[in-house]
């Protein structure tokens, strides 16, 4: 299958994420997720990272399932202590819904790996988004792994000072993570300042009107996606809100 235009990728991610966020019926959410995985795989995106990324969310999902079971007990109680329901069928279902929602959004985002940052910027420009915003959003995405690495290094630095993060009480842990945020935020602001200076030194925004040598052209398949995706999304949402 031909790689879609970056504008189609944006539309696809927006449609799928909208369905993922609004739908609360488990089987329908699962269908949306399956459809997203199939479509994105057919387009050529690799989903090997999906499982790895979702593993990180597993604890959040279990936490949500537990909270839902305790505070909004619905369905049969599966585990209880006295009168307090620890795990209910409803709670588990809500946890599963959260997991499916996250999985759908992550799977739809995998489509962006099919384009370069230049392609995405051009896509945004041709959607009439000012170049400055388009460029900044692309830069922000590029810096995410850097921040993640910085955060990991700072956690390592804390451990190198003799703090066994895995073994300290939760309260201490929270205190440590809060203090780690300070250098990471400082680093982010500092990097942003240096980056803006570097960009201006390379004459960024020197001319009010910017032209592009490289432009995107929509192909027949792109028009099909652009016609089908919003209609499909609207149909699924109508089915969910009116018929279900």
């Amino acid at each position: 299958m031909k790689k879609p235009d970056p504008r189609v990728m944006l539309l696809l991610a927006a449609c799928v994420s909208t369905m993922g966020v609004l739908i609360e019926t488990t089987w329908l959410l699962a269908s949306v997720f399956a459809f997203t995985v199939l479509l994105v795989s057919a387009m050529g995106a690799k989903l090997t990272m999906l499982v790895k990324r979702l593993k990180g969310f597993l604890w959040i999902v279990l936490f949500i399932a537990l909270m839902e079971s305790v505070f909004r007990p619905e369905g049969a109680a599966l585990i209880n202590i006295g009168t307090v329901n620890l795990v209910t069928a409803g709670g588990l279902l809500r946890g599963a819904n959260t997991m499916l929602r996250i999985a759908t959004v992550v799977a739809s985002a995998a489509v962006f790996t099919l384009t370069t940052s230049r392609g995405m910027i051009q896509g945004l420009i041709q959607l009439k988004i000012p170049y400055e915003f388009a460029f900044m959003s692309s830069v922000a995405l590029r810096f995410l792994p850097v921040f993640s690495e910085e955060f990991r290094d700072t956690v390592t630095a804390v451990q190198l000072r003799g703090v066994d993060i895995k073994r300290i009480p939760l309260r201490e842990k929270l205190k440590i993570y809060t203090s780690i945020l300070s250098p990471v935020v400082y680093g982010a602001v500092d990097k942003a300042q240096k980056l803006s200076c570097a960009m201006e030194l390379r004459a960024f925004r020197a001319y009010p009107k910017r032209t592009s040598r490289f432009t995107l052209k929509l192909g027949a398949a792109d028009y099909v996606y652009m016609a089908v995706m919003p209609v499909l999304t609207a149909a699924v949402l109508c089915y969910y809100y009116i018929l279900l």
């Binding site: 910085e150 290094d153 700072t154 390592t156 630095a157 804390v158 451990q159 190198l160 000072r161 003799g162 703090v163 066994d164 993060i165 895995k166 073994r167 203090s179 780690i180 300070s182 250098p183 400082y186 680093g187 500092d190």
Partner: protein, 222 residues
């Protein structure tokens, strides 16, 4: 001399690059200053991170003070061997210079008042007492480097692994740093210093180890 850190048939590779360390055995001793040199990308920093347990070897064993580091957490290893990052900014995370040192001292078992007194002493000893209330990340490059080293020093490890401690600092600050390292050496601490700095090598090295493409190509007395 007693072995401080031993690497026994250690192999390590990064997933996304061709770089690898293969079957490397090397010993570092207490009271000795070993200088690790080599071109960029030769594996010096990787080796130093393996030595302390920041990176885990694919094969082989690493011992600190005779104990396999696999059995201990990074925090426990750090109490025996201090590590200084190549970029000192990555090492600083408290709100003031004084708090940075107090944080290290508290991990050695000192209570808050005792740690504060000791931290003030250390700052005075290394001419940084006027910076006690400053935000660490706003210090100059040389000051950040000195502070990062002080946070390691405060924990009083038996061995120090320092990744390019003199990079990006001026002559005056380098002199202060060299004095600090000489003091550690005189106190009998073992040092492993990764550096390209000829002056630092001249003034401190007991042993020179050169690396190339993940291999030790030269290991000789200075």
């Amino acid at each position: 001399m007693r072995k401080a850190i031993s690497l026994e048939r250690v192999s390590f590779g990064y997933k996304k690059t061709a770089f690898h360390i293969d079957d490397l055995s090397l010993d570092f001793y207490c009271g000795e200053t070993a200088v690790l040199t080599g071109r960029n990308g030769s594996g010096k920093t990787t080796l130093s991170k393996l030595m302390i347990g920041i990176l885990k070897p694919d094969k082989g064993d690493i011992f600190i003070d005779g104990s396999n580091i696999k059995k201990h957490s990074l925090a426990q290893n750090a109490k025996s061997a201090g590590y200084l990052f190549q970029n000192p900014e990555r090492q600083l995370f408290c709100n003031t210079v004084l708090e940075e040192i107090i944080f290290s001292l508290r991990q050695t078992g000192l209570d808050e008042p005792a740690a504060r007194i000791r931290a003030e002493e250390l700052l005075k000893q290394f001419s940084m007492e006027d910076k006690a209330a400053s935000y660490p990340l706003k210090l100059s490059g040389g000051e950040k480097q000195r502070l990062a080293l002080l946070t390691v020093l405060a924990m009083e490890p038996k061995y120090y692994i320092l990744d390019e401690p003199s990079s990006g600092i001026d002559r005056d600050n380098k002199q202060i740093l060299t004095d600090m390292l000489n003091r550690l050496k005189a106190a009998g601490a073992g040092l492993c210093i990764i550096t390209h700095d000829e002056e630092l090598i001249e003034s401190l090295a007991d042993r020179k180890i050169s690396m190339e493409k993940g291999r030790v190509v030269r290991d000789e007395k200075a």
